[in-house]
Symmetry: C2
Subunit: 351 residues, 2 copies
């Protein structure tokens, strides 16, 4: 029986609850497809500050580096919310983790589920059929460039910098994904203003001919922010830098009304990490009302990455089935309301 | 009779047509309220490249600096679209103009008009009642910071920098506007990552007590991109930097279905500029189908800035009246279809 080592970082708020359901489901597919997942739990975020005085303790990084894949719940706690300049903050844990694991590509599929389309803020005819995936560069750009404040406190700066090599590796992933999809890549940038965007265009154009079947187009970020709302179905693969990806992937996540259903993967040099895109929702924590489906679908991406395609498929099909039956957690306003843990049990049973 | 000198920069595509209507309407209110507008036409954009080899000829800058206000149509032409690294491009004219006139605050009101709400990509219950205004810093940040590409072409950088003084002047404008509205300012930033955002927070917090009636809150830009779609009515005044403002103001512009109705002002150190937010739409140019209402409402902002409040109001009331009557250009799918010039005549007649 093949064994896979998974580092599990439940984090804060509803993170632990939804992570527990994802593990239930992984165990269930493990049993069905004769694979063993070995978990190593580690702290990250506010809970890690509370326990170790550090949002990313050294043991956590080590646990991740020793694992075949990392499962991440959610981080963030209101007590750290109102002071982004505080010395120690949960998000620092996340940023350092991305860097430590070399998580250079954040991948966020956004697709519609007919059963929850009525929850979309968009008119159904606009959003129906949306099925896109955002490739956001995650370890460079303005997030990690040189920054500082002048000694007199009168000015500050941040630097966005990119290397061709950093652009290249995520570009290849994006085109490879496009080959498995509708074969279209849209590079989103601000090449009419930014030097780094012009470098992205050049680098991406140089790689594109290696994927002759994939159509490449370009869109300015301000236009993309409009197009996502007006004609979201036009997109297949969106490729963009760290900062634009942060904004556009959050924008895209609310289009379909299925925020609680959206998984993500962060592909790394050393290992890869899988997490629901929703936050830690401290208000909902401990009430067994959180939607575990995004976490469970993230587990599907995780097992897929280990080559377990049938297992991944079984998870996706079960989630789809549950939705079609009108079953869901309260925020989906479903026909049949299930708790977080009950829904985890059901999906684990179905896979 | 008081005289006001207006520099008129019609630009490209539908720019000249909609500008012509705005001028008709200004002349009409001028007559009614006993004021004279003197116009000085100048070239900018693709047309200026064609005529002078420069998207912003020196005479144009001078015409603007000599004027009490500047009216701007739209710029951009497809022949320059696909090469953002070309030596001479229309947008450079715009960026240089902003710098030359010191246009530090771009002000974009976004409001719903019940008659066009059915054109919104959002569900009516989400968007109805939206009435917000974005204050975007326009002459600093990553647009104008140091930038470059390494000699070997393997890397590039852009610098975002801000000074407290640059933040202060737009912040005062935003708070002053909030005092005339619902008394709420939302600073949108990425203070959990960017040093410049932390400077913004600090500077804005220091100014806020001068406006004790105004409530100030903070929102990360990724969250703002979501909130604009989910609950656009929550916003009153949004204050943000150049890059985030570029993205969010375009995003906001498509929410209400009334893109062709949205005006803007760019307040400057030396003079101020008024323009419709829509682009140059070369496909529609010369067909007399462009919607002049955004240009006409920009003229209302212009005359307002000259202290002509009654005239400004007369323009707004007339546009509102025309809309209520179900009159509009083709893209509004109105009850009665008018051409661009016919609609200009009608509104000029009504003011
Ligand atoms: C918490 C924050 C630093 C982070 C980011 O901006 O990357 C978050 O918004 C995300 O998108 O994962
Ligand atoms: C044309 C471009 C440089 C410009 C900008 O990014 O400022 C435009 O998008 C705008 O918002 O006026």
């Amino acid at each position: 029986t093949p064994k896979h080592k998974i580092a599990v970082l439940p984090g804060d708020g509803i993170g632990p609850e939804v992570t527990e359901q994802a593990i239930k489901v992984m165990d269930a597919v493990g049993e069905r497809f004769d694979t063993v997942f070995e978990y190593c739990h580690a702290d990250v975020g506010a809970i890690a500050i509370d326990r170790h005085g550090d949002p990313l303790p050294e043991e956590t990084v080590e646990a991740c580096l020793n694992a075949d894949a990392v499962f991440f719940g959610a981080i963030g706690h209101p007590k750290y919310d109102n002071d982004p300049s505080a010395k120690v903050r949960p998000e620092q844990g996340l940023l350092r983790l991305r860097k430590a694991l070399g998580l250079y590509a954040n991948i966020r599929p956004v697709k519609t589920y007919d059963k929850v389309l009525h929850l979309s803020p968009l008119r159904e005819d606009r959003v129906k059929g949306t099925d896109l995936v955002i490739f956001r560069e995650l370890t460079s750009g303005i997030y990690f460039g040189e920054k500082g404040t002048a000694a007199d406190g009168q000015s500050a700066f941040d630097t966005c910098s990119y290397q061709v090599e950093e652009i290249g590796r995520i570009t290849h992933l994006a085109f490879q994904q496009a080959m498995l999809r509708r074969k279209k890549v849209t590079l989103v940038d601000k090449a009419n203003v930014l030097e780094t965007s012009r470098l992205w265009r050049k680098a991406v154009k140089e790689i594109a001919p290696q994927y002759p079947e994939v159509a490449l187009d370009f869109m300015f970020v301000d236009n993309a922010a409009m197009q996502l709302i007006q004609y979201p179905t036009q997109f297949d693969v969106i490729l963009t830098n760290n900062m634009f990806g942060d904004i556009l992937s959050d924008e895209a996540s609310v289009l379909t009304g299925s925020m609680g259903l959206l998984p993500s993967a962060s592909v790394g040099l050393h290992t890869s990490m899988y997490e629901p895109i929703h936050g830690s929702y401290p208000q909902a924590a401990g009430q067994d009302i959180a939607n575990p489906m995004a976490a469970i679908l993230s587990a599907a991406m995780l097992v897929e990455s280990l080559g377990l395609h049938e297992a991944a498929n079984a998870i996706r099909v079960s989630v789809q089935y549950v939705l079609e039956k009108g079953i869901g957690t309260p925020e989906l306003k479903p026909g049949m309301v299930y708790g977080c843990s009950q829904l985890g049990d059901l999906i684990a049973h179905l896979v």
